[in-house]
Every structure is written in structure tokens, then in C-alpha cells.
């Protein structure tokens, strides 16, 4: 039967028995028991794939995440992306062996750390109005660029304005990224940013934080909120290190 892989765990070889206990005590999809597949100091947490692939639902993705979260309470791990199914335990073992260094290095990077997510939201229209107000609009007059105002030059002028606004918007977000990175440099030096995800979500960030510094990190975010009354801060976590798992197995 096909095997679904939930996560790859760091397990020192003298603790394999304890890891087996941990993994065996957790139920996967539709009650299927988890079990470990070991390779050196790595263990993949797997279960049999008891559900046909064509009846995947949101709830299954959440159940998958729940298993990963449960494992992460006591072990350092790399989550697998939902839908990681291979043919056999031998295939799982081969996967661990062939990519041992990548798994070991990545596990080392996330050891003792948790992920926090931060989204910055704003009112797009109001935000754009503020940015527009700070732009120098000498070009509001078509004569700045064109010898005469026609339908096409007016259209081009609008495009120029739009481009300048987008440029200023990006610069604004980049300055926020700089500010946040500097502010959190000591507590969360490893971070990732996605800018301008939607009109309302101007920043989507992930931070890798030492578990013992979680409280300090949250306090540091609170300080940021006080500086930015125009933004809403959506902070989530702690999560397993999903965003800092950077392995593609071919």
C-alpha cells in the first residue's frame, strides 16, 4: 500500500526507541497508525495511505497539519508538503538516504526554533491617498510631458501617474521591510518577506525564532504596532518551520 509521509525528524540513534514510541502513538489519516522509517539519525513519520486520492478535502489537509504539529511538540522536524505519497517504505528509506545531507543541514538550521507569520494589512485606498499626497505631481499637467493635451496624452499621463504610484508603493513597503528587519534583527535574524501580496495585504512575512525568544519576539512586534497606526498586524504562530524547509526531492 502507498505511504504518506508527514515529516522528517531528527532522531539521534540512541533515541530511536523513544522516537518510535512518539510516532507510533499518533494517528494519521482516517485512524491509520503512524510509524517511523529510520535512516541514520533521521526518521520519516509515515502511515499507510488509506484514502483514495480523489476524495481529498480541506479537512484532510488540516488533519495532516495536526499530525505535524503533534510531532513538532517533542521533535525537531521538517514538514512534508501535503500530498507527499510514495510507493513503499523502501522508497521512503531511499529518499532519506539520497538526500541525507540536505535533510540533516536543514534540520540543524531549524533546531529549537519555531516559525511566526506576520501579515501587514491596510486600507488600500487610504494608503494610496497618503502616498499620492507625498508625490510631487508636476506631471498633473499634460504640458509637463507633451506639447499639447489630447485624448492619447491624457491617457499616457494617467499611466505615468499610475506607474509613479506603484513605484512609490513598492518603496514604501520596502522601507517597512527594512524597518522590520532591523527591529527584529537580534530576535529573528532569519526571515522571509513577500511584498504586495494583494491590495490589502501589503506584506506577508515569516520569521524563524528561537523558541525561548518567542515572548520577546511578540513584544517586539507589539512595539512595531505602536509606530504604525495605519496598519493592521496579523501575527500567527508558533508554527512548525514550514516556511524554512527548503528541500525539493527529485
Amino acid at each position: 500500500m502507498e505511504k504518506i509521509i508527514y515529516a522528517v525528524l531528527a532522531v539521534s540513534e540512541d533515541k530511536q526507541a523513544a522516537a518510535s514510541c512518539l510516532i507510533n502513538g499518533i494517528k494519521g489519516f482516517f485512524g491509520a497508525s503512524l510509524y517511523p522509517v529510520f535512516y541514520n539519525d533521521l526518521a520519516a513519520a509515515v502511515s499507510e495511505m488509506v484514502v483514495p486520492g480523489d476524495c481529498i478535502r480541506k479537512e484532510m489537509a488540516l488533519a495532516y497539519a495536526s499530525v505535524i504539529s503533534e510531532l513538532n511538540r517533542t521533535a525537531t522536524l521538517l514538514p512534508m508538503r501535503f500530498g507527499s505519497v510514495v510507493e513503499s517504505d523502501e522508497e521512503v528509506s531511499r529518499l532519506l538516504a539520497n538526500h541525507y545531507n540536505a535533510f540533516a543541514n536543514n534540520l540543524n538550521e531549524v533546531n529549537g526554533k519555531v516559525e511566526f507569520g506576520l501579515k501587514l494589512l491596510w486600507d488600500y485606498e487610504k494608503g494610496c491617498d497618503r502616498i499620492r499626497a507625498n508625490l510631487n505631481y508636476c506631471e498633473s499637467d499634460a504640458g509637463c510631458y507633451f506639447s499639447k493635451a489630447t485624448a492619447s496624452t491624457v491617457y499616457l499621463l494617467e499611466k505615468i501617474k499610475q506607474h509613479r504610484l506603484e513605484d512609490a508603493l513598492l518603496k514604501h513597503v520596502e522601507s517597512l521591510v527594512d524597518e522590520i528587519s532591523q527591529h527584529l534583527a537580534l530576535v529573528a535574524p532569519t526571515c522571509k518577506f513577500k511584498k504586495l501580496v494583494t491590495n490589502n495585504i501589503i506584506l506577508d512575512a515569516a520569521f524563524l525564532v528561537d523558541e525561548s525568544k518567542s515572548k520577546i519576539f511578540i513584544e517586539a512586534i507589539e512595539m512595531l504596532t505602536e509606530r504604525h497606526n495605519d496598519l493592521h498586524f496579523l501575527l500567527t504562530g508558533p508554527w512548525p518551520p514550514y516556511s524554512f524547509t527548503e528541500i525539493t526531492v527529485a
Binding site: G53, A61, A65, T198, T248, V249
Partner: protein, 84 residues
């Protein structure tokens, strides 16, 4: 499921509607991670398990929740800090 913290310096009153929304948003955040992040297996070794359109449909619906947060002027959910 991971706790969630919403910050806005304008107010500190927890509202029931906000609590409901935080559940949706936490699910969104979770699905975003499970579906888009983590170790990826490609090629012959992986068996295609699913058409996950249904899951993505859920994500899109939940994304709407995040977008509407701004309009509803969310307040601080201070109590959740105690869960950490």
C-alpha cells in the same frame, strides 16, 4: 492549532465576531503552509494523490476573511497571549 494575535493600537476590546474570524484566518494560515510549503517531492518517486482544487477553493474563501479584516477594524485579541 497555533494561537493567533491581532494587533491594532486603536482599541483593545475583544469582540465575538473577531474571535470567529481568527479561527478562519488561522485555518487559512495553516492551509497556506501545508499546501505551499514544506519538503517537496517531485518526479517518479512521488505518487500523485489528489486533485487538490477543493482544498484551494477553501483557501480562496478564507482569503476573503483576511481581506475583510481591514474593513471591520479589528481590535486586539489580548487574551490569546496567555495561550503561548
Amino acid at each position: 492549532m497555533a494561537p493567533i494575535y491581532l494587533r491594532n493600537t486603536k482599541g483593545e476590546v475583544m469582540q465575538e465576531s473577531v474571535i470567529d474570524q481568527t479561527k478562519d484566518i488561522t485555518i487559512l494560515e495553516l492551509l497556506d503552509r501545508v499546501l505551499n510549503k514544506g519538503v517537496v517531492i517531485t518526479g517518479d518517486i512521488v505518487i500523485s494523490v489528489a486533485d487538490i482544487d477543493l482544498v484551494y477553493l477553501g483557501v480562496k474563501l478564507l482569503l476573503t476573511s483576511v481581506e475583510t479584516m481591514q474593513q471591520r477594524q479589528l481590535t486586539v485579541v489580548k487574551e490569546n497571549q496567555k495561550n503561548l
